[in-house]
């Protein structure tokens, strides 16, 4: 089928890709069996392709369930939030299309022009989502006590917290560590 550069089109492309990979694995196994290999050996020889087929199947499942579940979920939310949720789905789907370009070129009718459009779409989405990046992670609503991070605390005092944490190092409890007197000093004074 002709390539459709919409969200549904890309997801459908992933299904085609996954089915293509599975089909190819089956025919590889059959070819190897026909050449006298046992089924088990043919399976083992094809296993790199088999894991790739499994991954493709899983990508298709994740993309389609993310898309359909977000569609359902978005019905009851405010327009600004719906927009952001849709942008996130678009970003995810387009990102994975760009990640899997080789496979899509192999198994679907995606063209160079479609790919260029996808790249531009992706970069536009980054720009659109950027103002909401902090809001999006704030919405995960993870307390500082759970985050346990000097860099990620809600108040953004990253440098102050890094310094506070550094001061907790046991080495900072004394100005001179005993290893200086024991090892370094004799060495430095040529007494070793």
């Amino acid at each position: 089928p002709p390539w459709d550069n919409s969200l549904q089109g890309i997801i459908s492309g992933f299904h085609t890709l996954a089915a293509g990979k599975i089909g190819l694995c089956v025919s590889q196994i059959e070819k190897r069996q026909a050449s006298g290999m046992s089924y088990e050996d043919a399976w083992n020889m094809t296993s790199v392709q088999l894991t790739a087929a499994s991954e493709a199947h899983c990508r298709a499942i994740i993309l389609s369930s993310y898309y359909t579940e977000t569609e359902k979920m978005s019905r009851g939310v405010s327009a600004p939030l719906r927009l952001v949720l849709t942008q996130l789905v678009e970003l995810y789907v387009v990102y994975w299309a760009l990640q899997c370009l080789g496979d899509l070129l192999r198994f679907t009718s995606i063209s160079e022009r479609n790919i260029e459009e996808l790249q531009n779409w992706y970069e536009d989405l980054l720009v659109k989502l950027r103002p909401n990046a902090v809001g999006l992670v704030d919405a995960f609503d993870i307390r500082d006590e759970i985050l346990r991070s000097a860099l990620g605390a809600y108040d953004g005092r990253a440098y102050e917290r890094l310094m506070e944490e550094a001061m907790k190092s046991p080495l900072n409890k004394e100005p001179v560590n005993e290893s200086f007197h024991k090892y370094l000093k004799p060495f430095m004074q040529g007494k070793l």
């Binding site: 299904h15 089915a19 293509g20 599975i22 089909g23 694995c25 089956v26 088999l50 499994s54 991954e55 199947h57 899983c58 499942i61 994740i62 993309l63 369930s65 993310y66 979920m73 405010s78 600004p80 939030l81 927009l83 996130l88 789905v89 970003l91 995810y92 970069e123 989405l125 980054l126 720009v127 989502l129 950027r130 103002p131 909401n132 990046a133 902090v134 809001g135 992670v137 704030d138 919405a139 995960f140 609503d141 993870i142 307390r143 006590e145 759970i146 346990r148 991070s149 000097a150 860099l151 990620g152 809600y154 108040d155 953004g156 990253a158 890094l162 944490e165 550094a166 907790k168 046991p170």
Partner: protein, 470 residues
């Protein structure tokens, strides 16, 4: 609040609370979660006198046990005060709250996540009545031992034997070789005193494959290992050093016949073996854990992207345009590329996990009525989703660490510890390549039977084959 971060919050175009409520499942759920968190942190169990990073391996374990017990004590008190169900507070021990208190894993996790669920799924009603109450009260601490030193996901290859002796009505558990030693289970080393052990069942001279047995490992009073039990810790690991992973060997250890979990298959007093309706039923616990794993990695990813995104709003670096001050690193499109795909992945996996959880519940309900039709589909799905979500999550956390430069390399960023926890999930409950090959087996079968009606998640295979023929 840092002014750059505040500016970001001021410019946000949507209502953050609305999204939080949506993620939690409604405003009431958000309120409940916040209340639960408030109660837990009010106790101060999470506060360390000395940062645990500077403790020795042994001290880390002792601290983890102390905190796990304090957490359990608090959980029991809250349960009594609020008259709330256990499941409400089970959440405290897993997920975000648990890892907040027990940073590098808990020695009691497997007790709740695998020991109790296995009893619920594989024990008879009588066995459940005897064991589950004691397990919930923490009168006994259990774990689940399947993997062996020389054998992983391929459970048919396990070597530990359980041979039935009809004369004494006992099973004899034995590790015939070093490779038969159980290896990995959390809590096994010095915490648990009971264990569900997967072993090859022999009765009347015949092997009937792997079955679950509940085995006492340590004396309930002294905690000393029982005769014939060789148990200890496997040593320091890349991460999860609070989980007390252990090894376990048996030297002809005898257990009563009633200690075989007999909900599915049975051994009668005379040694007669009664088969389970499906050998696949023993996979139930593993599927449950894999479904839970997808939930867990969402939490880890959410933490990592929160840390990296807030840092990227605060951190300034280089010059984007001549004669302008250093911009926030969030201004760089490469940084947005690293962070925003992580944020969208959290939402993708969260929704996918909820969808998988619904499917798991439907299929297990069907199992209760003897309908096993969708079990292979669920098994295939849980395998590949476990593999892809854990590997994507590990990549996401690592990307977040890199996006914070050298500061992300500090343990105080919590990104290295989070990476240790996530990358462990790529290995436990089935190494990812093995998981993908299990799914592949199902997909190849689906391709070959595509002429018949296929389950929903692989229906596209049938369509593709029809298209190819035409």
């Amino acid at each position: 609040v840092n002014p750059d971060l505040q500016k970001e919050r001021d410019n946000c175009t949507f209502n953050v609370t609305e999204l939080t409520n949506l993620i939690d499942g409604g405003p009431q759920k958000t309120e409940e979660r916040k209340k639960r968190e408030e109660m837990v942190f009010k106790e101060g169990i999470h506060i360390d006198e000395v940062p645990s990073d500077y403790l020795s391996h042994k001290e880390k374990y002792e601290l983890a046990v102390k905190k796990a017990c304090m957490l359990f004590k608090m959980m029991r008190r809250l349960q009594e005060e609020e008259n709330a169900g256990m499941e409400n507070y089970m959440a405290l021990l897993g997920g975000n709250l648990g890892s907040a208190i027990l940073g590098d894993g808990s020695p009691l996790t497997l007790h709740y996540v695998m020991f109790i669920p296995t009893l619920m799924g594989q024990a008879t009603v009588e066995q459940q009545a005897y064991w589950i109450g004691r397990a919930f009260n923490l009168s006994i601490i259990g774990t689940y031992a399947q993997t062996e030193l020389g054998h992983g996901t391929f459970i048919r290859g396990l070597e530990t034997t359980a041979t039935y002796d009809a004369a004494t009505k006992q099973f004899v558990l034995h590790s015939p070789t070093l490779t038969a030693y159980k290896w990995w289970p959390g809590g096994l080393a010095h915490t648990a005193n009971y264990c569900v052990v997967m072993a090859q069942l022999y009765t009347q001279g015949k092997c009937h494959g792997i079955h679950p047995f509940i085995v006492q490992l340590r004396d309930e009073e002294t905690h000393m290992p029982l005769p014939g039990i060789k148990v200890g810790e496997i040593g320091a690991k890349l991460g999860m050093n609070g989980t007390n992973n252990g090894f376990l060997g048996f030297d002809n250890v005898r257990i009563p016949r009633e200690h075989m979990l007999m909900k599915n298959s049975k051994v009668l007093e005379d040694g007669t073996y009664v088969n389970a309706p499906s050998s696949k039923l023993t996979y139930g616990t593993m599927m449950f854990v894999r479904v839970m794993l997808v939930h867990d990695v969402c939490n880890y990813m959410a933490k990592a992207v929160t840390i990296a995104t807030r840092y990227s709003a605060v951190r300034r670096q280089s010059q984007l345009r001549p004669n302008e001050p250093e911009p926030q690193i969030l201004e760089y499109v490469t940084q947005q590329h690293k962070l925003l795909i992580g944020i969208s992945s959290v939402h993708a996996f969260r929704l996918c996990a909820a969808w998988l959880w619904d499917m798991y519940n439907n299929v297990t309900a069907e199992l209760e009525t003897g309908d096993l039709e969708r079990l292979p589909e669920l098994h295939a799905l849980s395998c590949c989703l476990k593999a892809i979500t854990t590997s994507d999550a590990a990549a996401c956390v690592e990307r977040c660490r890199l996006s914070c430069g050298g500061h992300g390399y500090m343990l105080s960023s919590n990104l290295p510890l989070t990476y240790g926890l996530v990358t462990a999930a790529c290995t436990y409950e089935g190494e990812n390549t093995v998981m993908l090959l299990q799914t592949a087996r199902y997909l190849v079968k689906a391709w070959r039977t595509a002429a018949h009606a296929l389950p929903p998640t692989v229906s596209y295979v049938g369509l593709a084959r029809t298209g190819r023929r035409s």
